[in-house]
Symmetry: C2
Subunit: 231 residues, 2 copies
Amino acid sequence: MTGKVYGLGLGPGDSELVTVKAARLIGATPVVAYPRTQHGDSFVREIAAPYVPATAIELPLDTPMAIDTAIAQAKYDEHAELVAAHLEADRDVVLLCEGDPFVFGSFMYIYDRLADRYEVEVVPGVSSITACAAAAGLPLAGREDILTILPATLPEAVLERELAQTSAAVVMKIGRHLDKVRRVIDRLGATGGATYVERALNPSQRVVPLARLTDAEAPYFSVILVFRDTD
Amino acid sequence: MTGKVYGLGLGPGDSELVTVKAARLIGATPVVAYPRTQHGDSFVREIAAPYVPATAIELPLDTPMAIDTAIAQAKYDEHAELVAAHLEADRDVVLLCEGDPFVFGSFMYIYDRLADRYEVEVVPGVSSITACAAAAGLPLAGREDILTILPATLPEAVLERELAQTSAAVVMKIGRHLDKVRRVIDRLGATGGATYVERALNPSQRVVPLARLTDAEAPYFSVILVFRDTD
């Protein structure tokens, strides 16, 4: 007998935007695992706080900033084995994820390493895509709209090509790419239809028309919504 | 004093995939409004069932199938006025939405009609986009992936152009467009990387590789996930 692992999407940050299912599973599962930064912070552990019982075995996973280096991959190997050790002892594990586990999260690196060997259930969460739209009061897509989701880490030319072709886009994980993304949107003449959303639906949320944003940098948890008339 | 309206995303169908916030608001708000089909069914009312108190004033909104006709627009005018009547009497209203309110839902037609006149709060929900990925066990996007969300109602040539350009796509609301979408995916040689998901995370869920799907038609609540190697 081995345990089961649940990948739980906990939404954009407000503990009330956790699903009833994720809240129940956090309370009922012996091991609660979550990523932690090198500074010892865990945003997703904060989101889960109201639901983590005092009896939980906590398993913080120290997560590297970069993901494509050999060091980072070795870290994910290590995390998978830390989780697997509990599964082998027939203890179920919940793995907490910001937003949705399958949209630009680090969960998929552990998923890739465990899904063939153990039972894994993914519980979807409110993704930052729809959280940002709700925060800004801007419907994302209706009728025959096309919606494009782009990470801000893409090369400038790729961002420009993609944004030039779509009527609605969410550019994710702005962070230190703010200048690049702004340049591209400016060149496309799309600044008037662009909205910057930082920490959607969190107490420190900011929603600012891109044309009025004077910041030089943005946090990782920020997006730019771009709506253009392409007809 | 006028009431406030909440647009609540209730997720893909499982009542446990409702957020803690939406569950609380359903229980605490005097008027519970929801779309209802011409047959008198309301899928979203079923999702909400565990959270609707016996004391709620229920406001079913008979919703047309088509959305772009003058008759449909008149219906949405009528719905907005039904909701507004409660707001004018200083009663708050929750408006229940399948999935997320701002992703291909009928909520935005009422939102357009009320947001200028009343306080409207949108509470995001688990969208069918991520629910289908969770059901299929297929991560949607990571690292520098681009994700395209397309309604199956698009003309065949537009679908083909969009799918030819992206490495990951979710084609929504398959319904009677199954043949058309399948033809396009076949022509692009992408059938091997395509998965059909029907009623994700509901008891009647089906996940079938597109290559093995023999159905001639699909329900409205079905999507096809398409992953292609475009490098």
